[in-house]
Assembly symmetry: C2
Homo-oligomer: 137 residues x 2
DNA sequence: TTCGAAGTTTACGTTTGCGTAAAGGTAAGC
DNA sequence: GCTTACCTTTACGCAAACGTAAACTTCGAA
């Protein structure tokens, strides 16, 4: 039987405001261990209710960012650097560093874009070749 | 002073036909160690002239494939599986397995495509915000 | 033929990103 | 107040992808 989280503070609210670690683990299909690991690496810092971790909507977004970064092949350290800079507002040196990082990333992402388009096309061609050949038997 | 490889066998040929390990290392900006590692993992098998490795144009292409795979976040084992299947012609079971793999990859690649487009857009927005804010000072 | 740059094998070391117990604490529902 | 699902910390383990050092060998140029 499923345990009910914590009674909604805003009873008829549309958007959840709090999540347990396993809520997020299930939603994003990862393990709780991974989420705790991201915390160890200072990528996310949920609040605590006693000893238990409580994740806000903002925390959830951060987790999404982390996973997106991972899918793109960034290391946790790189993701942390970007996310951290992301939050800083108006500090000049930080801003320039972030712009610098963005442009490096942009080049790398554009290359990946090319790679992916190339591969998807290769796959299309190959699949057609294979299936027609398959039919021919 | 740079050492000259082996005298071109086809003197006025347009395309090189042979490469040393450091030729490829330089061209693709990786270490020789990495290339040897790919060989250890059976991803590439250059011929030998005595004890030295000699890479053909085909080997060079394989290396390109490996690096492209890496940029897309595939493991060497995955890259090997794809490359290996790639070469097989006409064998039914292999063909079906390859189609299966392709379709799994395709989904993952499409997700990455989304991620990249999303991020590139985010970067554009963020850069604009940062530079305008920067100007405003 | 001697030198030096580049190549070779062998093998242990390192980082990253979690997996996986172990050993227990907490709270909702009966 | 007891059960039970879920949470916690601590810590060792492990595979992947090379780095790096050691100790040669090879070969083209001088």
């Amino acid at each position: 039987m499923l345990r009910v989280i914590t009674k909604e503070l805003t009873p008829m609210s549309d958007e959840k405001t709090e999540y347990t670690i396993s809520d997020l683990a299930k939603e994003f299909e990862i393990t709780s261990r991974s989420i705790r690991h991201y915390e160890d690496e200072k990528l996310i810092t949920p609040t605590r209710r006693g000893v238990h971790r409580i994740y806000s909507a903002r925390d959830r977004v951060r987790l999404q960012l982390i996973l997106r970064g991972k899918r793109l092949g960034f290391s946790l350290a790189e993701i942390k650097e970007i996310i951290d800079l992301y939050g800083v507002e108006g500090e000049q040196r930080q801003t320039e560093r972030l712009l610098e990082l963005i442009n490096v990333r942009r080049e790398s992402l554009k290359q990946q874009l090319k790679d992916i388009k190339y591969l998807l096309n290769e796959f299309d061609v190959l699949e057609e070749k294979l299936t027609s050949e398959h039919q021919a038997k």
